[in-house]
């Protein structure tokens, strides 16, 4: 029996025939995503159901020295779960159990394949007083995948979603099953514990240090009512001050910003949407009243911020919908291709990012479209430069790819850092990184993954 056949048969023994494939059609789908990343080779795909099956796959991969790439929803659009050096893609979505909800300590323990939509639906039905921070991703995105790439969601007042992680179960690259957080020492998954923060060994590593199979995620009280306040300005220089004043009120669940050049009437306007919540109309109205005074304190008669008293229903729906239908932006060009460059940056860099982002989009023959999110109390902003393209037109794909590269470069130049960085952006980041930091990353990787089987090619500089 040849090595390829042996690996295939071993995977079938582990997961079952229907859940393993090395057929070109199945591999085709796993070799590409909706972004501009060029397709890369995949040799096998397997969809395990249990942590023990994942463990067996990891042991097999070590024995046969074949790369493995764990995949959640596969929606980063940056090629992070398309193997760089071939091997096995582990589609985690069959591990989809919601194991426990602790109402007192407000957390949920889930398996790695639970989708955002499924968790939202489960909580609404069974625990209507609780919610999780729902990202602006399609509902098929996995909760754990989002945590591991430092995603963010509808409750960004509490920071990005990885801040909401209490603990994880992880299969290490050498096959051991390991628990991290309070669950390592206690039956309860209530916090990371007063322990060394080992979760950091797996968050932001793009599956290069282990396969997370379970996670405990913090839940938050769900208020009775949600509403929003919408501001607009034509001067991006005012934005840091506006954000600062909004966060100073401590009334925003979430702050989003957007601009798009189409339709024409939106061109040149930056919109700031503030999601608020409360248990009564009085509470909502009070928050609206306080936030409504902010424009008076910002800018002057020439450069002003306007409170939009009458919000068009479609805009309101766009901001308040649960889950948010962010994918609508992806169809801007009606071409089935979409990628965005999310740059995590300090708030004061937003005006320059805005202006130069427009220049980059126009340079590459694209319309400017951005969607940004403020984290915590204005501690950080995810500035998202969106590039919708026609995947049937190779020139258009190439234009979007070039725009992405230029945008990542801009982000780093402004002191920001590309979020969920693709291979090109990883390289750009590493070039700017303190060499000792990168050496530390390499040492950690070598220690955890001595055979280099975990999603190799990522974070290699």
């Amino acid at each position: 029996m040849g090595r390829e056949e042996l690996i295939y048969n071993s995977l079938v023994d582990i997961a079952g025939e229907d859940l393993v494939s090395n057929e070109p059609e199945d591999l085709y789908i796993y070799s590409r995503d909706g972004g501009t990343t060029k397709p890369r080779r995949v040799d096998y795909v397997v969809s395990p159901k249990t942590v023990e099956e994942v463990q067996k796959i990891v042991i097999l991969a070590n024995k046969e020295n074949v790369p493995i790439t764990p995949m959640g929803g596969g929606l980063t659009l940056n090629g992070l779960v398309i193997p760089v050096r071939g091997g096995i893609v582990i589609d985690m979505k069959r591990m989809d159990r919601i194991i426990e909800v602790n109402e007192s300590s407000r957390y949920v323990i889930i398996e790695a394949g639970v989708s955002q939509g499924a968790l939202m639906s489960y909580l609404k039905k069974n625990y209507p007083d609780l919610q999780h921070s729902m990202p602006e991703a399609p509902s098929i995105a996995t909760v754990v995948g989002n945590l591991l790439i430092r995603g963010h969601g509808s409750l960004s007042q509490y920071g990005d979603n990885s801040n909401m992680l209490n603990g994880i179960e992880v299969v290490l690259p050498t096959g051991e099953i390991c628990q991290v957080g309070s669950c390592s020492t206690s039956p309860h998954w209530f916090s990371k514990g007063p322990l060394p923060d080992l979760a950091g060994l797996f968050v932001g590593w793009f599956g290069t240090t282990g396969i997370v199979t379970k996670a405990s995620l913090r839940l938050y009280p769900r208020p009775e009512k949600r509403d929003m306040v919408l501001f607009a300005t034509q001067n991006p220089d005012l934005i840091p001050d506006v954000i600062c004043k909004i966060t100073q009120t401590r009334m925003a669940d979430n702050i989003g910003m957007m601009e798009q050049e189409k339709p024409e009437y939106m061109k040149g306007y930056q919109f700031i949407g503030v999601i608020i919540s409360g248990d009564s109309e009085e509470e909502i109205n009070y928050k609206k009243k306080v936030l409504g005074k902010i424009p008076q304190a910002c800018g002057d008669s020439e450069n002003k911020v306007t409170l939009l008293e009458e919000i068009p229903p479609s805009s309101k729906e766009r901001f308040l919908e649960e889950p948010p239908f962010a994918a609508v932006a992806a169809d801007f060009r009606k071409g089935g291709g979409f990628q965005y460059c999310g740059i995590m940056m300090p708030i004061e860099k937003v005006p320059e990012a805005w202006r130069r982002g427009i220049e980059i989009a126009h340079k590459h023959g694209m319309l400017f479209q951005c969607a940004n999110q403020v984290m915590s109390a204005g501690h950080e902003v995810m500035f998202g430069f969106n590039y919708s393209f026609n995947r049937a037109d190779e020139k258009d794909v190439e234009r979007a790819k070039k725009a992405m590269e230029d945008t990542n470069k801009l982000g780093l130049e402004l002191g920001g850092i590309p979020w969920k960085a693709d291979l090109q952006a990883q390289k750009q980041i590493v070039e700017k990184m303190d060499p000792n930091t990168f050496e530390l990353m390499k040492k950690v990787k070598k220690l955890l993954d001595p055979n280099g089987i975990m999603n190799p090619g990522n974070w290699e500089g």
Partner: protein, 389 residues
């Protein structure tokens, strides 16, 4: 439309995955029956769209038997078209059908699909049964053949005519219609396959042939109104045949007969009943109320809904010819077994259906799950027949 007519649309799918869910993202699982079974992205509606584009439009992949296996695993339940958020959603199932037409042209259909189509061509049904046996289900009943002047043609379809489980439903409906006093009759050996599955499997030419044959017979006999046992027949006759016939699914007719007092259900039927929406009645033809109105009109029936119901209903796995081809296969994660477990979870003792295909699929699943002592599959016509005075 042919696949080339979708060339400006087909690449627009992002694989964003809304098509896999119900409208409320039910945590019970995914609502695409194929993806629920296989759980590889290639078997999701988006995966299929990308594969069709790659193989039949762009030429990146050579059309193959495995591609054919993937494309023919789809039950055409239309959940994807309903849940896709984009404007091209209506085209998803049409694109898949057009791709199947190409697979037929390239002679790349799975062997079992080829067998289905050949049988329909040769015998007028997929079972290789003789035409004269189409009468057998009505033996020892008073249900008669259609005669000129009858108000309704009772179109039974292949599954109700030949499948021994579904024949119970065919007889029960015949019995109910007799009790209503409506002048009706069935075609028996003159009936030909309605072609709904043939159309779904991409054999356009054969579908047109069947349509013409049936239409000719209907015209010869002066048929004006048709009542169908199967939602599959209803879909084909109502939406794809000439509009000179008025077509009803039997639940619509029975609902009206109960309302008008021509059927008296006051004898009642004591049972806790849950109802499974057939895709070709619900998602294809937006009829969710008639079956429920019948059930709730029957004294003693306590109707309880499953978690996934109406437009969110989960397909039994039998559509698109899968009741015969069985490409989706059996096993714990097969759609019919998932659905039977869901019905069992309601605490109902009757799982009511309004489709002979659903009936045979769920009956098999019930046995596989070992739930025969706790749950029974019954067609709504059987429930009604028992309730009639």
């Amino acid at each position: 439309m042919a696949l080339k007519d979708y060339k400006d649309i087909i690449h627009r799918c992002f694989r964003c995955g809304y098509c896999k869910f119900t409208s409320d993202y039910s945590y019970l699982g995914f609502n695409c029956p194929v993806y629920s079974k296989y759980r590889l992205e290639s078997y999701s509606p988006g995966g299929m769209m990308w594969l069709i584009y790659a193989s039949l439009v762009k030429g990146e992949l050579k059309p193959s038997k495995h591609l054919s296996q993937i494309l023919y695993s789809c039950t055409m339940c239309r959940n994807c078209s309903q849940e896709c958020k984009f404007k091209f959603n209506e085209d998803i199932v049409n694109i898949l059908k057009a791709a199947r037409e190409e697979m037929v042209d390239k002679q790349l259909v799975p062997q079992i699909v080829g067998q289905f189509l050949t049988n329909v061509y040769d015998y007028g049904n997929p079972y290789r049964e003789l035409k004269q046996n189409r009468d057998n289900w009505a033996e020892n009943t008073e249900i008669k053949h259609y005669e000129k002047g009858d108000e309704f043609l009772y179109y039974v379809g292949c599954v109700g005519s030949y499948d021994t489980v579904s024949q119970k439903a065919a007889r029960a409906l015949g019995s109910v219609l007799l009790k209503s006093g409506l002048p009706f009759g069935f075609l028996g050996s003159r009936e030909v396959c309605d072609g709904n599955e043939v159309d779904m499997l991409g054999e356009k030419g054969l579908f047109e042939f069947l349509k013409e044959e049936n239409t000719q017979i209907f015209k010869e006999l002066g048929v004006k109104k048709i009542v169908t046992l199967s939602p599959h027949s209803y879909n084909a006759l109502k939406n794809n045949y000439s509009n000179e016939f008025e077509v009803f699914h039997y639940t619509q007719l029975l609902r009206d007969l109960v309302k008008s007092g021509k059927l008296d259900v006051s004898r009642g039927f004591k049972a806790k009943v849950t109802y499974h929406d057939p895709c070709f009645l619900g998602r294809y033809n937006n009829e969710y109320d008639a079956p429920r109105e019948i059930l709730t009109a029957i004294p003693g029936v306590e109707l309880v809904e499953m978690e996934r119901t109406k437009e969110n209903s989960f397909c039994c796995g039998g559509g698109g010819g899968n009741f015969y081809t069985d490409i989706l296969g059996s096993g714990k994660d097969s759609p019919s077994r998932i659905r039977v477990r869901e019905a069992h979870d309601t605490g109902a003792n009757i799982l009511a259906v309004a489709c002979p295909v659903c009936m045979m699929m769920l009956e098999d699943a019930l046995k596989a799950e070992g739930l025969e002592d706790e749950l029974a599959i019954k067609d709504i016509s059987e429930v009604m027949n028992a309730a009639l005075l």
